[in-house]
Symmetry: C2
Subunit: 330 residues, 2 copies
Amino acid sequence: MRIVVDAMGSDDNPGPDVAGAVLAARKFGDTMILVGDQAQIEAELAKQDTAGLSIEVVHAGQQIVMTDKPSDIVKGKPDSSMHVGMSLVKNGEADAFVTAGNTGGALAVAMLRQVGLGRIPGVKRPALGVIFPIEERPLLIDNGANADCKPEYLLQFGLMGSLYVERVLGVQNPRVALISNGEEEGKGNSLIKETIPLMQASGLNYVGNIEPKEFVKGGADVGVTDGFTGNIIIKTAEAIASYMNGLIKTEIKASPLTTLGGLLAKPAFGRVKSRLDPDEVGGAPLLGVNGVVIVAHGRSNAYAIKQAIGQARRIVEKQVVEAIQTGLKA
Amino acid sequence: MRIVVDAMGSDDNPGPDVAGAVLAARKFGDTMILVGDQAQIEAELAKQDTAGLSIEVVHAGQQIVMTDKPSDIVKGKPDSSMHVGMSLVKNGEADAFVTAGNTGGALAVAMLRQVGLGRIPGVKRPALGVIFPIEERPLLIDNGANADCKPEYLLQFGLMGSLYVERVLGVQNPRVALISNGEEEGKGNSLIKETIPLMQASGLNYVGNIEPKEFVKGGADVGVTDGFTGNIIIKTAEAIASYMNGLIKTEIKASPLTTLGGLLAKPAFGRVKSRLDPDEVGGAPLLGVNGVVIVAHGRSNAYAIKQAIGQARRIVEKQVVEAIQTGLKA
């Protein structure tokens, strides 16, 4: 397999991106194609032991940064590592594209007629699926690709998410739910209410509407939402987890006895952290794009990049893009 | 002051509701009017020391429960404790109404032409404001009264929230922000984008759009959102806090050493809990209604009911309803 890795993606690029690709090349035995500033990539590669690994470098003269707006990226950076990298997938020279860069940018480049992968025929809007970093690992889709949605988009998010979860995570007959402000009939905004009959008629294993509380408890394998709400959910979850961590640290340090207690309990906190670690999950698949694209967190370290590459491999292996193509025709 | 307390509101009614009213009568020296099933209320009062307190009982033959839909309440329960209680405020026999019951029910009854308080002239939609239980105590508005909103509703939520925070919490020139999936220009759904120019032209201290992370850090005094998103934010925050608590407990108990550490650190966890305690906050004001209505959490205990009554008193005292009336004319 040949995987393109955007070397200029992560916040600390190209260090974690290159190191992650090296880890993945060693672990999976696949070819990694690092795209970005050749000199910088080679300087990073020189720090690594790459003996016997299959690693290629493709130069790209421009770099997309987090503050770039999608419209500027499309017009102003035609030689970015995302443009160059995705065109390799489009032209059949590689099987998947992994980036820890700007999500909106990745989506915008993927949609470009010339270099981009475009949509799978029949897909109304590609969506970003995020594996929620809790025990049950449900998929939340969309997480920000589409701030404004129509019922038929949400229906497709459910279908694409269901196929992803079934194939990549191995969940049989995934439970699909709409994320809402209440489970009872009559709850939800008009988007949710209009989507319910479509879900009911869809043939998906639609289990109804669930609140965030039930979703966090594993009440669904796929939580469907518009991209605005999905993004707010993920960001609220991160904010509260981080706020609570800070508060616990402060209060533990507030007295000698609780400080001692905190020291003794430290391994427990470490285990909590690793159970909630988004790095374990890898990255977010951009579903509905006609090719495999994974967007990892900007804060990714080498390990997270390697995990994201592993996830991309599984999507290729399990033929998720083909499954969505077939699913949409049905 | 005369405060009506819905004795049939909380999940464990009428125990906490009656006990909370007794606590408030003692603390504030005001008259509490308990509305609900007279026999049940009197049985609860008999358990309390009410010597020297001013407590009245008004019978209401019906009770609204959490599973009642607003439409059923309006048509089917004309003698509910909410109907009877709010009509006392409407008729000038009391200054405020406090309930730990069904939020949608309270809103529906408040809007009834016959017994309800109605809207303040000029208010398009009343909204539920919730004090976010973090250090800085920002107000999140709307928290579920309006699942579908228009830009002009959000503008009014900002105005009403700002007046509430200024008068009741004593914040000078409150910072008003729209809750969004990003702070940059171009982020947000169409509702947010259309509300921005209204906020900018409003004369409010509009500080822009903020993400949940910044809101939790105290980046605004008033976070404005539609009721669907607001409710999802609150519910996600509660879900994540509860999930993390559970995870921490489990991991601490996983070994003898961390169990000991957890015991020693217990006072710290207690302090964390009390700092995040929604009971401290009291209840959620229903802003835009032409009278003072506070909706407390269904899980409220007597202390939370007392706090909610205290909050109702402050709203009366600080003339928030009058301030909104004046503010809307300006």
